[in-house]
Each structure stands twice: as structure tokens, then as C-alpha cells.
């Protein structure tokens, strides 16, 4: 076995490179200068292998404030030192073991984080939502409104985002308000609602925190009877009544905190976080949509409209839905929803919600001046 060899030594005080002879004594490694004098004596138990290229063993002393270094490039000598010193482990086994512990605990942390994200965050948001005062909710809605407007307002032909203020739109506005009035009276929510038609071509409607409901122009175009439109507005009033917007904000904040702040960003981690949030939030959304449907159907039953009309327009709008990607869609599969809607529809007395002329006027609510 090798008992001595050549190496380079740096004393940590200056950058001068000393060529030295290393002697492997029984308890310590002895470093001799070229003239044979003893420069340093490092006990094997205090040796530390430091980061170095593969061809070299770089040694220092554990927890030493002085940056003295011994560089061994003689492979036989390096192997001999590795054998003699317990802390020196060139195979990296000791370090790997420590690292596996980190990985194992991280996986455990990840699991509990995911469980919290899936089960606890929506639960907390649901419990917290009723505690949010209405004034704060309205402010929240105003903040979201500013963002929604920047995102959605296409400034179509330089016109206002809301429909119904133009001279030729007034009649449509009156019909719309009549329809909304019937629904709102039946809903009897503890706070006032604002339902507006906006210039936007998608067949959709959205509810913001604080009772602001936007019905898109595209939805009015797509609806063939007042009952269909009323069904969708009733559904949105369900979101408002259940304060789903506020709950979504709370959920989103909770998830952002869990994923964003604790995990930071690395290797495009930000995008992963957003993806995880989208999947989780849309999976929460399924029950929420079903509840809003039920609310809308109850309203229609109450005011004598056709509750099944909501199902009809849903089927018309979502015509082709790919199965297999259901979880990524905002709304649960239409077929299931329509079945649930029809099951809840009562067969009580019906009367038209709007006159024929009124509905015709409503269709022109976004005619501009």
C-alpha cells in the first residue's frame, strides 16, 4: 500500500503553491516540505474531501477557518487516504445518504401540500367566504372589474363596453331590466345585484365578487327564447348568491401562497405552478357550477319560466365537447348538467317572461346609437 507521495499544498495564508511530500503516518497525514521539514500534520478524522475535478482529491480540515488545501493528483495516494480517513468518502455514499433523506422528506412535504391544496384550501375558502364583509367584497369586485375590462373590452367600433345606453338600445335595455327584475326579486339576495350586457362576442356570462354580472352580447345572440337567457342569468345569480367569486379569490390566494411562495421558481417552475393552479381550481369548479345550476333552476321554477331552457342553451353553446379533457373545462360535462337540470325542473304553471316584442327589442340591445 502507498504510504507516501507527491502533492501540492496551499497554506491558506498566501496563494503560494508548495510542492510537498505527503506521508501517511498511523493517525495523521504528515505534510513535508521539499527540504524534508514538517509543514503540517492533519489527523485522518479531521480530513474533509472538497469539491474538485474528478482527477484530483482536494483535502481541507473540517471546520477549519484557515483555507489550507492539499491537492493530491496521485491516484494511488488518493485511494490510500480515502481508505485511512473515515470522513473522506470519494464514492460519495455518505453524501448520497444525506441527500436521500432530503428527497424523502421533500416528497412527504409535497404529498401533504397536495392534500392540503386539494382538500383543505377549498374547505378553508368556503368557511372564510361568509365572513368577508359585503363592503370588502364589493371593493374586491371593483378591483377585478378593472382587470376584466382591460382584458375583455375590445372597444368595438369605439363604443362603450356596456350595451343599452344608446338611443336605439333603450327598448332592449328596458326588456332586459324587466327580465332581470323578475329573477332578482325571486332570488331575494341580501345585497343588490348589477346585471349588465357587454359588447363581447363569446356566448358567455360572468359573475364578479360583489354582485356584478356581465352577460355577453354573444349569449343574447345565441338565445332563442327569453327563458334560455333567464336560465343563464339565474345560474349567474346563483354564483353571486353563493359568493363564488370571492371564494375563488380566496382559493386562488391560498394556492398561490402554498405553491408560489413556498416553492419559489426554478426551471420554469412558475409555469408548473400556474398549471397546477388551473387544474386544481377547475376541479373545485365542478361542484360550484352544479350548485349554481340548481339555484338557477329554482329561480325559474319560482317565477314560472321554463327551467329546462338552461339545459337547451347549454347544449347549443357547448355543441362539441371532447370527452377526456373534461377536467380542464370550466364546466362539468354538459350531458350530466342537463340531466341534473331536467331532474330539478318542476312542472308547475308557466307564463311568458317577456312579450314577443320585448324579446325582439332585447335582441337589439347592442345596436349602438
Amino acid at each position: 500500500m502507498t504510504s507516501s507521495g507527491q502533492a501540492y499544498y496551499f497554506d491558506g495564508a498566501t496563494s503560494a503553491r508548495h510542492q510537498v511530500t505527503v506521508e501517511l503516518a498511523p493517525a495523521a497525514l504528515k505534510i513535508h516540505a521539499a527540504d524534508g521539514g514538517l509543514i503540517a500534520e492533519w489527523p485522518y478524522a479531521e480530513l474533509e474531501a472538497l469539491s474538485a475535478p474528478e482527477s484530483m482529491l482536494r483535502l481541507g480540515r473540517i471546520k477549519s477557518p484557515v483555507l489550507a488545501r492539499l491537492e493530491v493528483r496521485d491516484q494511488a495516494l488518493a485511494a490510500a487516504i480515502d481508505d485511512l480517513s473515515i470522513p473522506v468518502d470519494r464514492s460519495g455514499r455518505t453524501e448520497r445518504r444525506g441527500r436521500m433523506k432530503v428527497v424523502a422528506w421533500s416528497v412527504a412535504a409535497t404529498l401533504s401540500l397536495l392534500l392540503v391544496a386539494i382538500f383543505v384550501v377549498p374547505e378553508i375558502a368556503t368557511r372564510l367566504t361568509p365572513l368577508v364583509p359585503y363592503g370588502l367584497e364589493r371593493r374586491l369586485g371593483a378591483a377585478v372589474d378593472t382587470q376584466i375590462r382591460t382584458a375583455l373590452d375590445t372597444r368595438k367600433a369605439g363604443a362603450k363596453f356596456e350595451c343599452g345606453d344608446g338611443e336605439r338600445e333603450k327598448a332592449g335595455r328596458a326588456a332586459f331590466d324587466k327580465l332581470v327584475g323578475q329573477l332578482e326579486r325571486a332570488a331575494a339576495l341580501p345585497f343588490p345585484l348589477r346585471v349588465l350586457v357587454v359588447r363581447r362576442d363569446d356566448a358567455n356570462a360572468i359573475t364578479l365578487p360583489g354582485g356584478l354580472i356581465y352577460v355577453f352580447e354573444g349569449l343574447i345572440e345565441k338565445s332563442e327564447t327569453p327563458d334560455e337567457l333567464a336560465g343563464v342569468i339565474g345560474h349567474e345569480m346563483g354564483h353571486a348568491g353563493h359568493r363564488d367569486g370571492t371564494r375563488m379569490v380566496l382559493q386562488s390566494a391560498g394556492l398561490s401562497f402554498l405553491f408560489g411562495m413556498l416553492l419559489g421558481d426554478f426551471f420554469g417552475g412558475g409555469a408548473v405552478i400556474i398549471a397546477a393552479k388551473v387544474i386544481l381550481q377547475t376541479s373545485y369548479a365542478r361542484d360550484v357550477e352544479a350548485a349554481a345550476d340548481a339555484f338557477g333552476v329554482a329561480l325559474m321554477n319560482q317565477i314560472g319560466g321554463d327551467p329546462r331552457a338552461l339545459g337547451t342553451i347549454l347544449e347549443r353553446i357547448s355543441g362539441s365537447t371532447h370527452s377526456g379533457m373534461k377536467l380542464l373545462l370550466n364546466h362539468p360535462e354538459t350531458k350530466d348538467r342537463v340531466a341534473a337540470i331536467n331532474a330539478r325542473a318542476s312542472s308547475g304553471p308557466r307564463h311568458p317572461l317577456l312579450e314577443g316584442t320585448e324579446f325582439a327589442a332585447l335582441k337589439h340591445i347592442c345596436m349602438l346609437s
Binding site: 469539491s51 482536494r58 489550507a68 493528483r73 370588502l136 378591483a143 419559489g264 426551471f267 417552475g269 380542464l328
Partner: protein, 431 residues
């Protein structure tokens, strides 16, 4: 056999046990080892939701540092993952209240709320620069060369304000004053950088970088400015007044159809924008090579003078290799996704199967595919671009008056990792 061959002895007597390397700086690491390190790291990052990044970052630095050999001696990185983790936790303790406060203020709308978001953004920018400086200090004090530690002095707050100020100037000047910012900031950094008691300084001048880069600036930004001037010159002020008064489509018609020069200028503007974007992407490696060369040529440590032989073609090479590898990876990934899609279809089309279960399986497969894709591209980027650039840049360096490196005295102690943590949490900082 020539006579010369016969004279040369069979076994060459070695004067020193370790022959000196050909250039002053050499990179010894094998790409294969770096691939292994990064792929293993990517898998562990995925299963630990990113917590492993502190260990991976440390491994990457250890690899890059310890394989960079300067005058026969390799650098040593002494930082640990534990330090990075602690730094990150401290940064969280500082940032969480700030974020919460900003969120609360943003809720409070009106002028105060909007002002607060602007102030918040500015504050986070300054804090980001602060973190950049502190993180540099952390990395320098963990870098050992020949048993001597690098050091960085100077106030990080001063640097942060200085850097923010200069960034604003560069933004306002449309990038024209970038060389001035670079030279000022680099001087600040290098003036405060030491190897032991050997003081660093920076001698690159703004003028030098300006002359090397002005052509690039003209090619990329020039057309944009010309188009902007064109739009302003042909602008019909009266039409915009009409528009503001609610003229609607009529005013827009007046602005466009009745003013062909304006329409042409607007069209040119869009053309210029696409040109600028394309030119910026295509010429980025040239820019990077110019800045790297200028930077290395300006660095001094005492009497030691650095210079760089980095060729623009080498920088292009690293990016081209990245694109090539990404292409191969994309092809393989598309095939894998197609197979997964078919499998999902087989699963979900089966009648009587619990559709919720199939859906969750599909979502999980999609998520895993996305994660694998993101990690794959970034791994290729780390190997091909980051490591590639590190290697060509390091090996391009020439050193003069290296005798000064032989007797540097050791000074100073390692600094706290808070800067690194902040940089990590704020998403700034590099190696």
C-alpha cells in the same frame, strides 16, 4: 524513421510531475457528467416540487467551478445547499409580509391603490438589484483559488439604487446608453471585488462598448425609431380630438383613409416591429459575444490583465446546438404524447368505465407530460447554452502578468446567504 525520431528518447523525463496546460484557462469537465447531474436533478426537482433546487444549484456550481482550471489550479466552490435553503427561508420571512401588504393595498382601490402598485413594483425592482449584489457577494466569498478567498465589499443598497437609476436611464434612451450603464455598474462591482488582498478593477469603457455595439443598435432599434417618427409626423391631431369627443368610426376613417401617409407610417411601424423582433433574436449571440469580450477585456486583478479571444461563431454554435437538441427532444416528446393520447382514448371510450377515474388519469398524464417537457427543455438549455458558454468563454481568456497570482495574501470571511435567498424568491440572479 527519420534521424530526429531516433534522437528523441523513448521515455521523456518529466521536469514537473504535472505538465502545465496549453492555455491559461481550461475547462476539464465532461459534458456527460453534467448531463447525468442535471437529469437526476430534474427528476428530483419534479418529485420534490422544486425543493431539491438548492442541492442542484450547489452541484451545478461545484461542477462548473471545480472544473475551471486557471494556470493549473482549479477553482473551488465551498457553498452548501443548506446555506441556500436558510437564505431562502430568511428571504421568505422578509418577503411574505411585503407581498401581503401589497395585496392589501391593491384591494384598496382609488389613487392610493394604484399608486401603491407602482411603488410596490419599484420597491421590488430595487430589492431585486439588492439581491443581485448580495448574491454575487455570496458566490464570490464561496469561491476559493489557491487557498485564497474572493471577496466583495461595498453597500448593496447603494448598488441597488445605482442599478435601478441606470436601468431607468437605459429604458428611456431606448437602450442607447446601455454601454454607460454596463461600464458604471461593472466598475462598481469590480472596484469592490478582491482576490484575497489583490484588488480588482474594471477598465472597460462605455465608449468602447458603444462603438462595438452601435451597429447592432441601429439594425434592431433604428427602424422602430424611424417608424415612430413617421407616425408622429403624419399624425392628424384634429382627428384624435374628434375621436376624444366621441366621433367614433368617422374619426377613425378620417385618421386612416383620408390620411394615407399616416396609414403608411402605421404599416411601416408594424413592419419595423416585426423586423426588430426578428433581428433581436437572430443577432442576440452577436450582442452576447460583444458584451462578454468587452467585459473580460476590462477585468483586472492587481497587475493581472484579462483578455478574451471569444469568437462570435462560438456563441452561435452553442445556441445552434441547443436548437438542434431541442428539435430532437420535441420530436420524441410529440411521439410520446401521441402514444399517451391514444392510450387515454382507449381508456375513456370504454363504456361502463368510471369516467371520473379516466379523467383524473388523463389530467395526471397531461400534467406529467407538461412537467417532463419543461424540465427537458431547461436541462438541454443548461447543458448546451449555459455550460457551452461557460466553457468557450473560460477557455477564451488570456492572462498577463500572472506572477501577481503567486503571492496573494488571504483576507476576509464568507458572507451570509440572504442575498441568494432573496434572489431565488424574487427570480433574479444567475449562477
Amino acid at each position: 524513421m527519420t534521424t530526429l525520431d531516433a534522437i528523441v528518447p523513448a521515455t521523456h523525463p518529466r521536469v514537473t510531475p504535472f505538465p502545465p496546460p496549453p492555455g491559461p484557462v481550461q475547462f476539464l469537465g465532461y459534458e456527460r457528467a453534467y448531463w447525468r447531474l442535471l437529469i437526476r436533478g430534474a427528476v428530483l426537482l419534479a418529485v420534490t416540487l422544486g425543493i431539491y433546487r438548492f442541492w442542484l444549484t450547489t452541484d451545478m456550481r461545484r461542477f462548473l467551478w471545480s472544473n475551471t482550471e486557471v494556470l493549473g489550479e482549479t477553482l473551488e466552490y465551498t457553498g452548501t445547499a443548506r446555506e441556500l435553503l436558510i437564505g431562502f427561508l430568511i428571504a421568505c420571512a422578509i418577503l411574505v409580509p411585503i407581498y401581503a401588504l401589497l395585496f392589501l393595498i391593491a384591494l384598496n382601490l382609488g389613487t392610493i391603490g394604484q399608486l401603491a402598485s407602482v411603488i410596490g413594483f419599484a420597491a421590488l425592482t430595487v430589492l431585486g438589484q439588492y439581491a443581485v449584489y448580495r448574491a454575487r457577494r455570496y458566490r464570490l466569498t464561496r469561491t476559493i483559488y489557491r487557498g485564497v478567498r474572493f471577496l466583495q465589499t461595498g453597500s448593496a443598497w447603494r448598488y441597488a439604487i445605482y442599478a435601478t437609476f441606470w436601468s431607468a436611464i437605459v429604458l428611456i434612451s431606448l437602450g442607447l446608453l446601455y454601454p454607460l450603464m454596463q461600464s458604471r455598474l461593472e466598475r462598481f462591482k469590480m472596484r469592490n471585488t478582491y482576490l484575497g488582498n489583490l484588488p480588482g478593477r474594471f477598465e472597460g469603457t462605455a465608449g468602447g462598448l458603444f462603438l462595438r455595439g452601435i451597429l447592432l443598435w441601429i439594425i434592431v432599434i433604428g427602424p422602430l425609431i424611424a417608424a415612430l417618427i413617421g407616425v408622429i409626423a403624419t399624425f392628424d391631431v384634429k382627428a384624435i380630438e374628434d375621436l376624444a369627443r366621441g366621433g367614433g368610426e368617422a374619426a377613425i376613417r378620417r385618421m386612416t383613409t383620408n390620411n394615407p401617409a399616416f396609414t403608411a407610417a402605421l404599416g411601416l411601424g408594424f413592419g419595423a416591429m416585426s423586423w426588430s423582433f426578428l433581428a433581436a433574436v437572430m443577432l442576440y449571440p452577436v450582442f452576447q459575444a460583444i458584451v462578454l469580450r468587452w467585459w473580460l477585456n476590462g477585468i483586472r486583478f492587481g497587475d493581472v490583465v484579462l483578455s478574451s479571444r471569444l469568437r462570435t461563431g462560438q456563441v452561435y454554435g452553442t445556441y445552434l446546438r441547443f436548437i438542434g437538441w431541442s428539435f430532437v427532444f420535441s420530436t420524441m416528446a410529440s411521439i410520446a404524447v401521441a402514444i399517451c393520447y391514444l392510450l387515454i382514448k382507449l381508456l375513456t371510450d370504454k363504456p361502463g368505465l368510471n369516467s371520473d377515474g379516466a379523467e383524473i388519469v388523463a389530467a395526471v398524464i397531461g400534467f406529467v407530460a407538461y412537467l417532463a417537457g419543461a424540465l427537458g427543455y431547461s436541462t438541454i438549455y443548461q447543458v448546451k447554452v449555459r455550460l457551452g458558454l461557460w466553457r468557450v468563454t473560460a477557455e477564451s481568456v488570456d492572462l498577463k502578468n500572472t506572477a501577481a497570482l503567486e503571492h496573494v495574501s488571504s483576507v476576509g470571511a464568507p458572507s451570509s446567504p440572504v442575498g441568494e435567498g432573496l434572489a431565488d424568491a424574487l427570480n433574479v440572479g444567475g449562477f
